[in-house]
């Protein structure tokens, strides 16, 4: 396809511009007060938004697997264990329910 190289180079340039702009924007925000508190809370809020969106896309099976992962995360605080539990739960739920 003749469209492939323009897409690859264009998307790379655009994506890098977004990444660098974020840095330049963050650097201009004050480092205490409301802006700093907001910036500090941003990672958790963004990741939670992503999880909420992903679970919304799913149904009861995904919600049950998400609850399983949450319980394992709270008990173990382990990333690999939580991933294994979530994947095993969704696999079993889809296979047997």
């Amino acid at each position: 396809m003749t469209e492939t190289w323009p897409l690859i180079l264009g998307l790379a340039a655009a994506t890098f511009t977004v990444r660098l702009s974020g840095y330049l924007l963050g650097r201009r925000l004050p480092d205490h007060g409301p802006w700093a508190r907001g910036l500090q809370a941003l990672p958790g809020c963004l990741i939670l938004s992503l999880v909420t969106y992903l679970l919304m896309q799913g149904g009861p099976q995904e919600w049950a697997a998400g609850a399983t992962a949450l319980v394992v995360a709270m008990l173990s605080r382990s990333l690999p264990l939580t991933m294994a539990a979530g994947i095993a739960a969704i696999f079993l739920l889809r296979a047997y329910y």
Binding site: A12, L20, L25, R37, Q40, P43, Y53, A65, T82, I90
Partner: protein, 237 residues
């Protein structure tokens, strides 16, 4: 947490290695998605070289998937680029929040750092730090280098051996990142001060998703910004 804060910052090299090591479970998930993306790249008649170059210089999996999917569906390069770019606006917030990690670094390290920051290694760095480890820039770069290697290998392999690749969903692997982000959220939770910002984020995403025809990208950005704004306005220092 106080005790760990007193211990000295680990050196760049050991942080790089720790980042590489800790990213492994997430890299397994990335590998599965890389294979799936390779499958799509093969449908778009992309060569192994094109797939590898794209993975290295774009290095944003979900936007690559959307853009190439648009191309396969017959869209122009421009339209495919816009779809991919919209998904990447989230990266603006990610690199904005890297301010402290990048402060005072030479330009090449800043350029490298923003390019290698993805949802996975960035979230992992915050989770690790919330548990009292003083990890920073080189931990992020270590995780990013691991991810870029796995992503390029897996996407090129997928494009080259398209017929032998299983669907992530059939293995339950489509849930890998949801589970990983749940584990990371558990580490980021630091007490009741986060109840309102986090509740706000969830409410915004649910309301926007259920009541408006907004594109998911914008829903995510609104949820993230809304929660952060609540945290900024509340003064609980």
């Amino acid at each position: 947490m106080a005790i760990q804060e007193i211990t000295a910052h680990p050196g760049a090299r050991s942080q790089l290695m720790a980042g590489l090591q800790d990213i492994l479970p997430l890299a397994v998930g990335v590998a599965v998605y890389g294979l799936a993306f390779g499958l799509l790249a093969a449908q778009a008649q992309m060569s192994g070289l094109q797939t590898g170059v794209m993975g290295t210089i774009v290095f944003a999996g979900s936007s690559q998937i959307i853009a190439v999917e648009r191309l396969v569906a017959g869209a122009s390069a421009g339209a495919a680029l816009l779809a991919g770019l919209a998904l990447n606006l989230r990266l603006l917030l990610i690199s904005a929040s890297l301010r402290d990690e990048l402060a005072g670094r030479p330009w090449w390290q800043i350029l490298l750092g923003v390019h290698l920051a993805t949802d996975e290694n960035w979230a992992l760095m915050h989770a690790k730090r919330a548990r009292g480890n003083s990890v920073g820039y080189w931990y992020l770069v270590g995780g990013g280098l691991g991810l870029v290697a796995v992503w390029v290998l897996a996407t090129v392999a997928g494009a080259s051996f398209a017929t032998a690749v299983p669907e992530p969903r059939a293995l339950g692997m489509d849930f890998a990142f949801t589970a990983a982000f749940i584990a990371i959220l558990r580490s980021l939770w630091s007490g009741s001060a986060m109840l309102l910002p986090w509740g706000g984020s969830v409410a915004i995403v649910l309301l926007a998703g259920l009541l408006t025809p907004l594109d998911p990208t914008w829903t995510l950005i609104l949820g993230g910004l809304g929660g952060a704004a609540i945290a900024g306005v509340l003064n609980n220092d």
